[in-house]
Symmetry: C2
Subunit: 227 residues, 2 copies
């Protein structure tokens, strides 16, 4: 399918939405259903199925699957862990929890808030294609990995004397991204879903998501059913 054919087959709203964003006021918060904590393949069986799948169908994820996916990625699995914060399914340096998941659905972009396990509106419009892959433009979910470097400002409780060094921070937040992305890959493999971690349009996405200067878009991961 060439680009012209592709554009013709996409509804006009979806084509426009990537360029004409409106405020998040039009979007309603999404309360995610309670995530399931068991079911699907074993870790070893999921590792055997783990792979990158680029061809992903347009079929939407049922609410329970979306909830499970986000909890698996970086949900709360312990009320208290270290440094006065809850524990998450993925580790982070000194439990800084520096990565935020910006979740692009067809109608808009939401921030995943792990403690209440809900999606908070960020911007209305279809930004799924900002994940940079044409194949991702119509997949049901694109997760954008965004670092917030202010999470490293910990004050006296911070045990890592190098955490103020930007090069050290870089090593931490990219590793943290990989730790979450692997949870997504294994959850997908355990449930027969398809996943694809990849580059994205970092500069434009940061503007469109109205990020602060201390935040940066790092990578993106597309999830859905295999096409």
């Amino acid at each position: 399918m060439n680009r012209r054919t592709f554009l013709k087959t996409v509804p006009a709203l979806a084509v426009m939405a990537g360029t004409t964003s409106t405020s998040a006021q039009d979007l309603q918060p999404i309360t995610l259903v309670k995530p399931q904590k068991d079911g699907g393949k074993s870790v070893l069986a999921a590792l055997q199925e783990r792979k990158t799948t680029r061809d992903i169908s347009e079929k939407q994820l049922p609410p329970q699957v979306l909830s499970n996916l986000l909890w698996a990625a970086f949900g709360v699995n312990r009320e208290k862990a270290s440094f006065g914060k809850p524990g998450r399914t993925a580790a982070s340096a000194s439990n800084s929890q520096e990565i935020d998941l910006y979740v692009a659905l067809p109608e808009g972009v939401y921030l995943y808030e792990a403690v209440p396990h809900c999606l908070k509106p960020v911007v209305t419009g279809d930004f799924r294609r900002r994940s940079g892959r044409r194949s991702a433009a119509k997949a049901p979910v694109n997760i954008f990995y965004v670092v917030d470097r202010t999470r490293y400002d910990e004050g006296p409780g911070q045990p890592d004397r190098n955490i103020g060094n930007p090069e050290v921070q870089k090593s931490y937040y990219y590793v943290a991204t990989g730790l979450i992305a692997s949870n997504v890959y294994l959850f997908a493999a355990s449930q027969g879903l398809a996943a694809h971690f990849h580059n994205c349009d970092k500069q434009n996405t940061a503007k469109e998501f109205k990020l602060r200067p201390e935040q940066s878009v790092l990578f993106s991961q597309t999830v859905g059913y295999p096409a």
Copy 2:
């Protein structure tokens, strides 16, 4: 326990070995038993158990568990994937497979070779404490994450035009480390093992492992039974 007490309680050989390395000729390759591809908790149940555990017992891992651990981390799960290479349990940029696992066991350090699924001797001696944590010094396994930047030299088949950029490479190899480390965390959680991903002594370790200039030690992960 202070450092003096700690040193007194460790056998003399183990104390010496971190500083007096001998050649790898004394070590024999280890053929790993065939990894199991199922068993243990589901992915969702393992995510609920995922946490960092710093207190790890001295108890050694049985051969089957060591084999399963390394396969889970970054083993081959498909004979052919992309760019003429096999598929691995963790993704990497353009399937560059740029991360090597250097596995420190009590008697020496080995390189994990994924295709034959074996451990190749690197250096004799006990380098487990180079993972930088006293608690890790006697844990049965410390995995050192080492990047080999020559894996990005792909020639005409390389589809990523930015892969020669050192900053881009950095983002790739730290994410790749996180992807593998998460596999280790989830495998550990699925089997009741303890795992701890952390900094390590990068400079000395690189010398002791006789790495080439294109290689760097990034992080380390300790695995064993909970103490």
